[in-house]
Structure formats: C-alpha cells, structure tokens
Amino acid sequence: MSMRLPKTVLHNRSANPNFRQSFWGFAWRTIVKKPGRLIGFAIIVLFALMGIFGPYLYPAQLPINPNAIYAPISWQYPLGTDFEGTSNLALVVTGARYVLFAAAMGAVFTVVFGTILGLCAGYFIGLTDSVIMRITDFILTIPSFPLLVVLSTVWNFGQPVAMGFVLGITGWGGLARAVRSQTMSLRERGFIEAARGLGLSPLYILFREILPNVGSYIAMNLLLAVTGSIYAEVGLFFLGVVPFQVNNWGVMLNLAVFSAGAMSSPQALPYLLSPMLAILILTLGIVLFLDALDEMFNPRLREV
C-alpha cells in the first residue's frame, strides 16, 4: 500500500545494540501508557504473589471457629467466614496456589503441546502433518469439558501438575492448528528456504527461525490459556465431578452453592462471593493486560 510509511523509520529508537533490554523497556512503556493496563498488570502480579506466598501467611490448617459461622464482614473477617467459621479471605488466599499453579501448568502444557505439534505439522508437511492433524481433529472434535470430566475421574488430581497436564492435553488442539497454519506460511517465506539452503538443521529452523516469529501469538495464547484453565478447573470443582481434597476457589463455590445455600441465604453470601470476586478480579486483570500484550505484539492494532 502506498500509504504506508517507510518501515525503517518507525523503529529508529531501537537502534540500540542491546535489543532485548529495549524490548522490556518498550513493554514497560506499553504497560504504563494506559492506567488500565497498569491496573491489570498490578492485579496479575498481586495474584501471582498470592499463589506463591499465600499459604505461608496462614497456618497449615486454617483455624475454625464454631462461634463465628457465617460471621458478617468485619475487621477480623474482611470477607466473612464459611460454614465452620474460617475466614473467607484466608480461604481465598490459601486457595489461590492450587488454582493458579494448576492453571499455569495447564497453560504451559497447552502451549508446549500445541506449539511443538503445530510446528512439526506445519514444517514437516506430508505424513507427519497428516498424522498430527488427524490427532488434532480428534482432540478438537471431542467436547473438551466433558472429556475433562471423564478424564478427571480416571486420574487423580491431588497434584496441580496432574490437573494442569489434563487441562493441557484436552486444550492444545486449537493452538496447534493455528501454529501449524502460521508455520506453513512461514515455511514458504524466503528466510526458511534460505536456512534450508544454508544447510541448517531442521531443529534449528523449527526452534530458532520459526518459533520466534510465532512467539507473540504464543505469548497471547499462554495468557489466554491461563484464564481458560482457571475456568475449566474451577468449573470442574464447582460441578463437583472430580475428586478433590484441597481448599481452592472451585471447592468454595461448590460448597457455598450446594452445601451452604449461599444462593438462598444472605448470611452465606460472602462465602459465595469471595471466590467469585477473586475470579472476577483476576479475569479483569487479564482482560486489561491483554490489551497491552495486543499492542506489544500485534502491529496491526498499534496506532502509528
């Protein structure tokens, strides 16, 4: 298009030998540009810290208090208490680790499976592609949530890694397909042909030449997969179709709705609202932050 500016000038500020650092600098500038993004970023950081350090803030077994069942919101219980008089805030904070760690693992597995299979299918066209794509079709055809439910009863979800793994193996299909099509189009690009002509190994081409170019897409997907995983696992616990043993947000929702009658009784409402609030705030944070990622990586939306 004739309207486009000469490409060279837009990036003059990055004429800095240490490009990597300047990327982080650029990323940070993108974040602070709008207050919404900063808020989103802060929320994500807060929740990450909660996941890492939350359990250390409270005793291993949260204290119960039969005299403060469904206590109203107070300084002692900022989010009220549950059916046995345990602080809802403590439950949310200590429950974050499993939820977030499993979600992170789920996202990592999704992205790792999806990326590797997508790259291989797109690059080694032919038989490899056919086999991988048939498996992908299969994964995409089976409704993932019900599959998750069935898998989860066969598996034991004591460890968040196991949960993450199952979330990963049910969720990589879409990403694999997208990465494949991007890889296929990159494959036709001159620099891949040149790399082949220069005798570089397929491994180098896949992971050093192609991967960085789908990196931005994968980064976005990683974040989206985190939210997707949170919803899926919290949903599983909420429905109660999986065995559970640890305190987490989904269990709270389940107990609040099905045991505590939070839907019918205002006294138990804080018990229901606490995990919902946590999920919503985290969602909000991710939505706000996605906007920044979008700008960091999607040149199409970047306003010149």
């Binding site: 298009m1 004739s2 309207m3 500016l5 000469p6 060279t8 000038v9 003059n12 306003e303 010149v304």
Partner: protein
C-alpha cells in the same frame, strides 16, 4: 457530461494543485509526506510522476481525490478540477461523485481492488447505482465494450469473481472501472508494477490507445523511469515529498537538470548502447529523517552538494519555458 471540459481551453490545466501539504500523524508528531506541491496537470496529455518508495507520489495522487487514508491528513492546499471545483473543500457528497466519474483511479494494488464476494458485473451495477446512472443495461453494455477493447472475453469476465481472473486481467478490469463512467482524468498509480514485461507492455499499449481515442488526461505514477520515458509527454520527478524536477519527458531525459534525475537516469540498465554507461546511485532513498531535516532532501546522496544545500531547501524555479527544477546548483547558475 463533461462538456465544459471537452471544450475548455487547452491552456487551462485539467488539474491545478496549489500549496499542497500532507502529513502523517504519528506518535512522534506530524511528519510531512507531501510538501508545498504546486502542479498543473495538462489536459489531454500523459503526465508521468516518478519517484522511489517514500517519495510521496502515491500520497499526492490520493490527495488529488481527497482520499488520503489515516493516519495521513491534508494540512493545506487546493486541488482545482474544472467542472468540479476544489476537491479539498467541496462537500463530501460532491467529492464522492467526482471520484469515479470525473477522476478515475487505477490502483497500485488493482489486483485486489475488487470485492472478492461479488461478480464483476454486479460491481459494475453497484458503481452505476452509486453514480445515479439511469440506464444500467447501457452501462453493462459499455463495460462489455471496454473489456473487449482491453482484449478480454467480456461475458466471461462480467460473470466472474476476482479470484477467477489472472493478475493481468484484474489490472485491465481495474482500468475498465476507471473509464466506464467516462472519466476524463485517469490516474494510473503503479498500475503495471506487479505485471511482467509482456503484460506491462500490452497494458501500456492499450492505455496509450485509449488515451488518444478518448482525449483523456492521463497521470502515470510509477517508479520505473523506462515506463515514463516510453509513455509520458511530461515528467514530474518527486523526491522526499517534493517535486524536484518537471518538464517534457524528452528534454528531461536527454538533459536532466537535477542531480537526482541525472543519477536516476544513469542508474537504468539499458539494452542499447555501452553497458558500462550505467552507474549505480549511492546512498539510500529518503526516509522520514530526511523529511525532517531543513536542507535539500537529496543532500545526503548528492555528489554536487554545496554547504548551502544542507541548511536551505531549494524551491522549484522555472528554468526554461516549460521546465522547473528545485536545485541550487541549477537555479544559482542561471
């Protein structure tokens, strides 16, 4: 329809551009893309506008239609078209009607200038309806005639979708769209760049013939000096958003005055004459940094640069009856 234009004095230019400035709004502020352009396009002549990528030639052409897309915006100037008025100040509806009807544009990316989901014939009808053509059947007949004239199977093309046509055919369909409403001013913006030699030659041939037959005013925008040299009556050389040289093509080619024009002509490999006559032009084309500097935009690459050129921008001066140059070396001598 455009009777005034047909019978207008030939001395009156078909398009008169005055003081045109276009900028691109960026996060770093407004960057000039077209600067202080004054230009008269002579009626019924082929005018070639030549320049490299980033020289502002396409922006200039879009400004003629007042269709500069975001983030570009026209800051000042006027584009007078007889029978229409100043394209930059008449109301939007009249601008819209002038586009397509008075001013036909064949797009740089004409290959993709058609709605992929509608048959060509339907798009002809859409065009007719937008310009209040009463007899749509007649319009289709005209389209059919034009397509035949352009060397295509008209019935097949009209019932085809874009993807069913080859690149050369799409380009010709683009020309058909520019001419079908009897526009007298036709602008070809890099219309043949994507075609290979043989297609380019045949499309240019048709353009030349139609130009003559219909008494068109043709503006040919290209980066290919050869095409301009072959086709144009007048040539306008742009560099860094400005017109650096302007004149009849024969005289400019044989006696280029501006160092850029000279370098450009010298850098053309030819099929005639001694091979080593061709000499590369050093440096890189103008970019936004160049635009922002106060001096001559060609200063960095100019072999004949003087200290004066770094700080002052030469303005376009008439050097002979119909030639203008913007270079201190030329104007100072004279």
């Amino acid at each position: 329809m455009s009777a005034e234009l047909m019978h207008g004095k030939s001395a009156e230019p078909a398009v008169r551009v005055r003081g045109l400035n276009v900028v691109y709004a960026t996060s770093q502020g407004d960057l000039p893309a077209v600067r202080d352009v004054d230009l008269d396009i002579e009626a019924e002549k082929i005018t070639g506008i030549i320049g490299e990528s980033g020289s502002g030639k396409s922006t200039l052409v879009m400004a003629l239609l007042n269709s500069v897309g975001k983030p570009g915006k026209i800051v000042s100037g006027s584009v007078m078209v007889p029978g229409v008025g100043d394209m930059l100040s008449i109301d939007r509806e009249r601008q819209r009607r002038a586009r397509g009807k008075e001013l036909g544009l064949v797009f740089q990316a004409a290959q993709n200038s058609l709605n992929p989901l509608r048959r060509i014939g339907h798009q002809v009808l859409d065009l007719g309806r937008s310009h209040e053509v009463r007899d749509l059947r007649d319009l289709l007949r005209k389209a059919s005639d034009l397509l035949t004239r352009l060397g295509m199977d008209a019935d097949r093309v009209l019932t085809s979708y874009q993807h069913e046509l080859s690149g050369g055919m799409r380009q010709r369909v683009g020309i058909m769209f520019a001419l079908i409403l009897d526009a007298k001013i036709v602008i070809l913006d890099e219309a043949t760049t994507a075609l290979d030699m043989l297609s380019q030659a045949s499309v240019l041939e048709i353009v030349r013939e139609l130009h003559k037959e219909r008494g068109l005013t043709t503006i040919l925008v290209t980066h290919d000096m050869g095409v301009v040299a072959d086709m144009a009556d007048r040539v306008v050389v742009m560099y860094g958003g400005e017109i650096v040289e302007e004149g009849p093509s024969g005289s400019v080619l044989s006696h280029p005055a501006h160092p850029y024009t000279q370098g450009l002509i010298r850098a053309i490999p030819r099929i005639s004459g001694a091979i080593d006559r061709a000499v590369p032009l050093p440096g890189a084309p103008a970019d936004l940094k160049t635009y922002l500097e106060p001096g001559c935009p060609f200063y960095q690459r100019c072999a004949a640069a003087m200290p004066k050129c770094q700080a002052n921008r030469p303005t376009s001066l008439t050097v002979s009856a119909d030639r203008k140059v913007a270079c201190f070396k030329v104007t100072d001598h004279d």
